[in-house]
Symmetry: C2
Subunit: 286 residues, 2 copies
């Protein structure tokens, strides 16, 4: 039975690219903000939501992580890494004179990522920022009489019938964005047609305030069991400087003994542990 | 001999408050961006620069940390924590009718931090964002005929001769910002009149790619020596997802044996270690 999946819109963003790869047969519902996407799952308006968590160049999307920390009712069910490929696109009527366009619209990050192209090929044009690459593409499609172009992905070009006149104009070839799928129960979903890269378990740990060596002890509890951690990051508790939540990526699937025992022991020394999810991660096959 | 100290301006920001507390007798030079402040020390235009590193509510200032990671020639010489206290201020001619002001200007974070006040006392007014609290205060002082107010700190009120008509309007009492002092050699500077809270040593570690348990080994090297770590955070290397610099705060001053031996051993297993500084940290006395 088809169901609804929320994503950070509008159409033509990289998040839509992720949602189309993950849920090709479902009904994708666009939300304007990350909190709105997350709330939609929480309130049962959609079964899953897809939001960005991390980018190669920009790092963690703090808004997503901070919201996940307080939304204890939701779990991560899956993760997908999408390559960030930016293209230069115009309305089809301008496609033979694209170099004459006077304005280039895109998200500020996308404009920054295409600095070389803009500087070499479109030096005469003025770059202006839009809230998303998808919104920039939409504006270009709706204003065929203006001499304007957008930097956005192939999905946006298709969605808004624009002509890609110069493909892959991003400076940096290895740029990728990691998206997560949120659900109420976090039960694993298998994704046909995507490349399964492995499994991870994400936990959030807060340390007791009166116990100086607690972080050591936490990490040692994983270390002696040879449970590998692929990432540790801290986010502020917002109750005072120097108090953090530690978000830890464990490089394996939840098991019956090792991870549960580690968590039980960490809790026994006074830490608070929340499981954010134990899930497969995928990449788009090329 | 007096010397120049750079800071993130304009006048009347929280960074100016930090620089005035740290260097009351020196010549403070305002720069418009964090990279410009850092470059000024690097090029010898100023002896020190003061930039924000972390805030209770917003977390790490990624721009500062990312720039420090690539600027290996600079070291942290000191750190100061400043309470973030926001006040409502108007031009003195409006001070008896401040509730009638039609616009409230401030930095977006400051507007967000004073949500309760704006919602209860100034519901009829329109909030508009400025690049900094100091810039908002400056604009209010320069336009006495407009019915406008600013949210900024006491320093801004003094600097621009504005009247504080409602003090401490921030929602959240424990909000603080951590500022760092950068210098070329990182030699410790003692701060009279400030409260010395302790010492820390900040290092940046990158792990070898071919060694899965490296992060464990790094943390164990500190752990068995009972060297306490107060913070671990990761920042993207920007060369591919999943590759991070780990920035670690060691809860003590650099010594002759324990920390150097730990660093030497971590390097022996293939890590790259950069010392970002070993320095005292202060708070403003109240």
């Amino acid at each position: 039975m088809p169901y609804a999946v929320g994503y950070l819109g509008p159409k033509g963003t990289f998040t839509q690219k992720a949602v189309d790869a993950l849920f090709p047969d479902q009904d994708a519902v666009s939300y304007q903000t990350i909190p709105a996407c997350i709330d939609a799952v929480k309130h049962g308006h959609v079964k899953y939501s897809v939001v960005p968590l991390e980018n190669t160049l920009e790092g963690t999307v703090n808004l997503t992580l901070d919201y996940l920390i307080i939304e204890k009712s939701l779990k991560i069910a899956s993760e997908l890494v999408v390559p960030v490929e930016q293209h230069f696109m115009v309305h089809p009527k301008h496609k033979d004179r694209w170099q004459e366009m006077k304005f280039v619209y895109s998200h500020p990050h996308a404009l920054a990522q295409c600095h070389q192209f803009l500087n070499n090929d479109m030096r005469h044009a003025t770059a202006e920022t839009f809230a998303s690459t998808g919104a920039a593409a939409k504006y270009v499609s709706e204003n065929p009489d203006l001499e304007i172009a957008a930097i956005a992905n192939d999905q946006a070009a298709k969605e808004y019938n624009l002509s890609i006149v110069k493909a892959n104009i991003h400076d940096f070839a290895n740029n990728e964005t990691r998206f997560i799928v949120l659900s109420k129960n976090g039960s694993e979903i298998s994704m046909d047609g995507l490349v399964l890269k492995g499994y991870k378990t994400k936990v959030m740990i807060s340390l007791p305030t009166d116990h100086a060596g607690a972080l050591h002890q936490v990490l040692s509890a994983f270390a002696w069991r040879r449970i590998n951690l692929s990432k540790i990051e801290s986010r502020p508790m917002k109750t005072g400087l120097g108090r953090y939540y530690f978000i830890i990526d464990i490089d394996q699937k939840m098991d019956d003994i090792l991870i549960p025992n580690t968590i039980a022991e960490i809790e026994a020394i006074g830490c608070h542990v929340e499981l954010l999810g134990s899930y497969p991660y995928y990449s788009i096959s090329k």
